[in-house]
């Protein structure tokens, strides 16, 4: 096989839906001249320029960072900007909105249920020392090993691909889903956090953590290598040991005060003044 790629014509089969005029979605075809190096997102732009300006989709960064352009491309959920057309086909391409979310228009799906579930698992640092959190006197101690425990899961860009690929999500609307559950673990395992109990309540609901039965799809489709399936199983492990009372009570990371007897390097600038009024 040679790696030489030539430009060719690819037929884009796009699933369209306009809420103002259409009863249900329908397929429309566009022939696009594809050059090597073109992403699916570029192809969509081409359609908008040359064929139909009313085609709607969501995108922003064009480089797999913002998580806006998740869609179903040739049957699998992925980012349009991160997918080379010629990597998957030189003839036909089917493109539809992410399933398991309602369609707003054409390729734009309504991700708000995912965001609501994300908020429900308390995806932020929970600690008792509120004063320190608001006006920090130093940094919380964290070793490189502590960091590795959760680093992988921080790369989530909330594109919704995992939610669209999950077979459990397909039949269970109320299931929290891979994205929120992975984020619940990301915070629970962070050594600066002290909210395990509260988060445990949030994820062990009826359609929560234990509804995952490892179809492995979320991790297979994740465009950022976040591996939600791993986070979910590791969280189950954590709760399992917790249930058996086999976990040591963890004290959240302490504050590393400023070192004493050391002068501040004058070359390091002071932080800029507040731009909003402080209470």
């Amino acid at each position: 096989m040679t790696n030489e790629r030539k430009s060719c014509e690819v037929v884009f089969h796009v699933r369209r839906f306009n809420p103002e005029t259409d009863e249900k979605p329908y397929w429309q075809q566009f022939t696009v001249k594809v050059e090597p190096g073109m992403t699916v997102l570029d192809g969509l732009h081409q359609i908008k320029r040359q064929h139909d300006f009313s085609l709607a989709w969501r995108y922003s960064c064009r480089m797999g960072v913002c998580g806006s352009c998740g869609m179903l491309i040739n049957g699998s959920a992925t980012l349009a900007c991160n997918t080379q057309i010629l990597d998957i086909s030189d003839r036909n391409l089917t493109i539809a909105a992410l399933p398991n979310f309602k369609i707003i228009r054409d390729l734009v799906s309504d991700l708000s249920p995912m965001f609501e579930k994300h908020v429900a698992v308390l995806p932020y640092m929970l600690r008792d020392d509120i004063q320190e959190m608001h006006e920090p006197t130093g940094e919380y101690y964290q070793s490189p090993d502590d960091l590795l425990e959760y680093l992988q899961f921080t790369y989530c860009i909330k594109c919704g691909c995992c939610m669209a690929a999950c077979p459990t999500m397909a039949t269970d609307d109320a299931f929290l889903g891979p994205q929120p559950l992975a984020q619940a673990y990301r915070y629970t395992i962070d050594n600066r956090d002290d909210g395990t109990d509260r988060r445990k309540k949030a994820v062990t609901v009826e359609h929560g953590l234990f509804r995952c039965h490892y179809g492995g799809e979320c991790s297979a489709v994740c465009p950022k290598g976040v591996d939600p399936a791993r986070a979910i199983q590791l969280m189950k492990k954590q709760l399992f040991f917790d249930f058996l009372k086999l976990t040591k009570h963890k004290t959240p990371a302490h504050v590393l005060g400023r070192p004493e007897g050391v002068e501040r390097n004058p070359k390091i600038p002071e932080p800029p003044p507040y731009t909003v009024e402080q209470e």
Partner: protein, 147 residues
């Protein structure tokens, strides 16, 4: 604010089968559900069939006669095979779901290697075992019943 209608796009049961990358684990996931439902159906039928004994010896023997039909023999073997799969995959799932076979969190470096790759040898091993047991079962089942 203008509220436009949204079109539902949930995959439903079809979602078990469609719209994925078709990883090996997804096949196991679906088969696990199907065999689970199959075994449950068998269990209900089993209660129904054995309860015919209370209707007297005649009914019981008539029912048993029907059950010796080759179709039911095949069905019985299918239940055995489903049971083997479900049990072994169940053990795999217990190991995975309690976090013992998915590895530790690692930094995602492209090309990504996820927990799916980490647990794959377990999945393959367990299925090889299931196939061996199913074949041994088949030999005994059909030889004993046929001979």
């Amino acid at each position: 604010m203008l509220q436009l209608k949204r079109h539902p796009n949930k995959l439903g049961i079809g979602g078990w089968l469609l719209k994925g990358r078709w990883g090996y684990e997804r096949y196991l996931y679906i088969l696990h559900r199907i065999t689970g439902l199959g075994i449950l159906t068998y269990f209900l039928l089993h209660i129904f069939v054995t309860s015919s004994r209370v209707l007297g010896m005649k009914t019981w023997e008539a029912v048993m006669g029907v059950l010796h039909h080759p179709v039911f023999m095949l069905g019985e073997y299918a239940v055995y095979a489903a049971f083997i799969f479900h049990a072994l995959n169940g053990i795999r799932l217990i190991l995975i779901e309690y976090g013992f076979a998915v590895g530790k969190a690692e930094e995602p470096v492209y090309p990504y290697r996820s927990s799916v790759n980490v647990q794959r040898p377990l999945g393959v091993g367990v299925m090889v075992l299931a196939v061996i047991l199913a074949l041994v079962g088949a030999a005994r089942f059909f030889m004993l019943n046929g001979g």
